[in-house]
């Protein structure tokens, strides 16, 4: 052992014992009280206690024993300080930056969808998933990258598992990114379908961003904060004006689109946004969305603390048997696929091996940023779950079930949902729609609208006022759409560079990122890839989210499994075999979940193949199944399902390949009796020469 662990003081012991008892008590209430609804504060308190204990004990255990973070060791930021990318930075500043980079729409969507099984399964998975899997992954990848000059996940995989493993994983990342972009864009489509108010405000973000871009470029260069405040005021004005648009007989039809039209608009927009110079559109939106994201998360926390809502959703619903309308599949493995971000998210391994390790001034701060940052994200997921579970269950199911199941009128929906055991009247559904300034709330799956209604009700409970609920609803929709669209823009750009790199292997000139031919071509391919899945979602019989979200979950958890397998290999290579289970258990768990979910999506009653066969059978009999209106549409649905099945097959192969590389590397390293990991040599912090 290189660091002596200080013995806790008696006062400290008492404090932690008290936290443990409070946590256990709250968890007991959350898990065991049946028959009467509980208050959300119990969930919040249980979460805080679990996170504190996880951070203090398990995080520290990983820090001291598994990673052996050493505050006396110089970090990449210190060794390669260039004032730009590598800069030793204050730990709170790094924490804020890291959290802003990992927090996105993911933790807000997954828990909302998972609420169909009740609040308990989701809560338990988020709390224990984050402590034993998600935060472990983020922290360990950050720790590994810190010891490797801040190298990226792909580079580390290449070094530790071999070049082929690196290429396979990077291919997986590209596919995952296309699915992420498609499913997130679909969330926006679902939120804006036939909603002139929402569509108008989201459309307004484009001229607002252009204005901000010009302001930042020529009027007051680099004044980000100032221009963001101007942008925010304009956004709020556009929400206010949107209410007039939605009732205007001349303006409303201009912003009233169906899902297909919105999908095309988003595809065209994504193309333009990633071809235009970044300062004009992408960067200013990014600034606005970053600040709005943090602001809205704080607002949600404030709303939950002040409103202290009662959870109306039962702790566990009958849908744990796999018959749920929001997503298909049993609790195992689909709960663990549906809630990805918030419990464990593979994407974070890219951030934790990206900018963050180049900023940390000391290895001693890695636990706070890596482990602590992920706990914060889990807290966001818990809040999203609370917002969804505090809704009337009837309203929740009306919003999240596909119209193929609940019909298209409030009357049909209320009847069906009441038959499921969640009694609701058509008036309740119509009133909710009226309160939020929309004509219908039915079948708006995707998390954003549900969260927006939940947030609007919470905020309305604190700040009442005529028409305020509609304002809050559209505010929440706008902010989610804003940061999803920023992800789509930036992701398309990153995807374009990746595609250009791959194309460059075949034909060298395509690699030049400055060349317009290469640029336009690669952007078109990238937009075409995610656009295909987006359009497929827009015409999907089950509403799209139902189909695409599991694909996204499988891909994201696959990446997390790869990151944790890397951490496992390195632990063995460092000859710390007795701690192999720390990254090993979550790695195995995720491999099992993704393979099981993948298999069920490949063959069996809820698989893509079964859906394709059902439509093929009907087509052969000359019948039409909704939502297809002619034989060509039937054919398209069949093809889409086969494409999804093939993609699932690729994910399964990918994870099996990576598993093979991992086991091989572990066996080799286990036999050798000295450390074989590719760490950079130790340099003492005090001895760093001035460059």
């Amino acid at each position: 052992m290189h660091t002596a662990v200080a013995k806790p003081s008696p006062a400290g012991k008492i404090l932690w014992a008290v936290i443990a008892i409070i946590g256990a008590w709250c968890l007991g209430v959350v898990a065991l009280r049946r028959g009467e609804p509980i208050n959300a504060i119990w969930v919040v308190a249980a979460a805080i206690a679990v996170f504190l204990i996880g951070y203090r004990f398990y995080g520290k255990f990983i820090n001291d024993n598994v990673l052996r973070m050493d505050p006396s060791r110089a970090t990449p930021a210190v060794l390669r300080n260039d004032g730009l990318d590598y800069v030793p930075t204050d730990k709170w500043v790094v924490f804020g930056h890291h959290f802003a980079a990992i927090a996105g729409a993911g933790p807000l969507v997954g828990p909302v969808l998972a609420a169909q099984m009740g609040y308990l399964p989701g809560t338990i998975w988020i709390l224990f998933g984050v402590v034993f899997a998600g935060a472990v992954q983020d922290f360990m990848i950050l720790g590994l990258s810190l010891r490797r000059d801040g190298r990226s996940l792909g580079n580390m995989l290449r070094d530790e598992l071999g070049p082929v493993a690196g290429v396979v994983a990077m291919f997986g990342v590209l596919v995952l990114m296309m699915i992420v972009l498609a499913v997130l864009a679909l969330v926006v489509v679902k939120a804006l379908t036939h909603s002139p108010w929402g569509t108008f405000t989201v459309a307004c973000t484009i001229p607002i961003a252009l204005l901000m871009g010009i302001y930042l470029r020529w009027v007051r260069p680099g004044r980000i904060l100032e221009v963001s405040i101007i942008g925010l005021v304009l956004l709020l004005a556009s929400i206010w004006f949107g209410s007039h648009v939605s009732v205007s007989p001349t303006l409303a039809p201009l912003f009233n689109f169906d899902a297909k039209a919105l999908a095309w608009l988003l595809i065209a927009y994504g193309f333009c946004a990633s071809v235009l110079p970044v300062w004009l559109l992408l960067a200013p939106r990014d600034y606005l969305s970053t600040f709005l994201k943090i602001g809205t998360i704080l607002l949600l926390a404030l709303a939950i603390f002040l409103a202290a809502p009662t959870l109306q959703m039962p702790a566990v619903t009958k849908f744990i048997d796999g018959t749920g309308p929001v997503f298909q599949g049993n609790l195992f493995p689909f709960l663990f696929i549906t809630i990805a971000c918030g419990a464990v998210s593979g994407w974070h391994s890219i951030i934790a091996s990206g900018t963050t390790p180049k900023l940390l001034a000391s290895e001693g701060e890695a636990r706070m940023v890596g482990y602590g940052g992920m706990l914060m994200e889990a807290f966001v997921a818990i809040m999203a779950l609370i917002a969804a579970a505090s809704l009337h269950p009837g309203v929740y199911f009306a919003m999240n079930s596909p119209s193929a199941l609940i019909g298209t009128t409030a009357q049909q929906a209320a009847t069906t949902i009441s038959e499921w055991g969640f009694v609701v009247t058509p008036d309740e559904l119509l009133n909710t729609a009226k309160n939020i300034g929309e004509t219908s709330i039915l079948s708006r799956a995707g998390g954003a609208p549900t969260l927006a209604v939940g947030m609007a009700q919470l905020l309305h409970g604190i700040i009442p006022g005529e028409g305020m609920m509609a304002f809050w609803y559209h505010y929440a929709i706008l902010f989610e759409a804003l940061f999803i669209l920023t992800t789509v823009d930036a992701g398309t750009r990153v995807g374009r560079f990746m595609i250009q790199e791959i194309a460059g292997l075949v034909y060298k000139p395509l690699q030049h990122t400055e060349s317009w031919t290469g640029n336009l071509l690669a952007t078109a391919i990238c937009v075409g890839l995610w656009g295909y899945f987006l359009y497929q979602g827009a015409v999907d019989p089950l509403g799209g989210i139902n189909t695409l979200w599991p694909l996204f979950g499988i891909a994201n958890q696959m990446l997390a499994a790869v990151a944790l397998m890397l951490a496992t290999v390195v632990t063995v290579k460092l000859k710390r075999e007795r701690y192999v289970l720390v990254p090993g258990i979550p790695a195995i768990w995720l491999v099992v979940c993704t393979l099981t979910a993948g298999w069920q999506k490949l063959s069996g009653p809820i698989s893509f193949s079964a859906a394709a066969q059902k439509y093929a059978q009907a087509a052969a009999d000359g019948k039409l199944l909704a939502p297809a209106k002619d034989a060509a549409e039937m054919q398209r649905i069949i093809t889409n399902n086969y494409v999804d099945a093939a993609l699932t097959g690729i994910f399964i192969l990918l994870i099996l390949t990576m598993l093979g590389f991992t086991l091989n590397a572990i066996l080799k390293a286990w036999r050798i009796n000295h450390p074989t990991a590719h760490e950079e040599p130790y340099v003492a912090l005090g001895s760093v020469p001035i460059q």
Binding site: N81, D82, G83, L84, D85, V87, T89, D90, W92, V93, G96, H97, A100, A101, I102, A103, G104, A105, G106, S152, V180, L184, P221, G222, I224, L225, V278, W279, L282, A283, D286, Y287, T290, F291, I294, C341, S345, W347, H348, I350, I351, G354, T355, L359, T486, T487, A490, G491, R493, V494, R496, F497, M498, T513, F552, N556, I690, Q691
Partner: protein, 64 residues
């Protein structure tokens, strides 16, 4: 108290800018003066533009 508040504000601004991919300008200028006195010091405007482009150069991380 006042100095404390100012320090907190400075950090908040630093965090906000870094979250948008713009590192601390003063730190960079100090670094240039100390280690590379021969190089020209960019204005904040030039520095900002360079960083803005660098942020979206690819490889960039941003979560779902």
């Amino acid at each position: 108290m006042n100095a404390n508040l100012r320090a907190i504000w400075k950090r908040a601004v630093q965090t906000a800018r870094l979250s948008c991919g713009v590192p601390d300008y003063d730190v960079y200028v100090k670094h240039l003066r100390e280690h590379h006195p021969e190089r020209p010091v960019p204005s904040y405007k030039e520095f900002f533009r360079e960083r803005q482009i660098a942020r979206y150069k690819g490889t960039g991380g941003r979560c779902c």
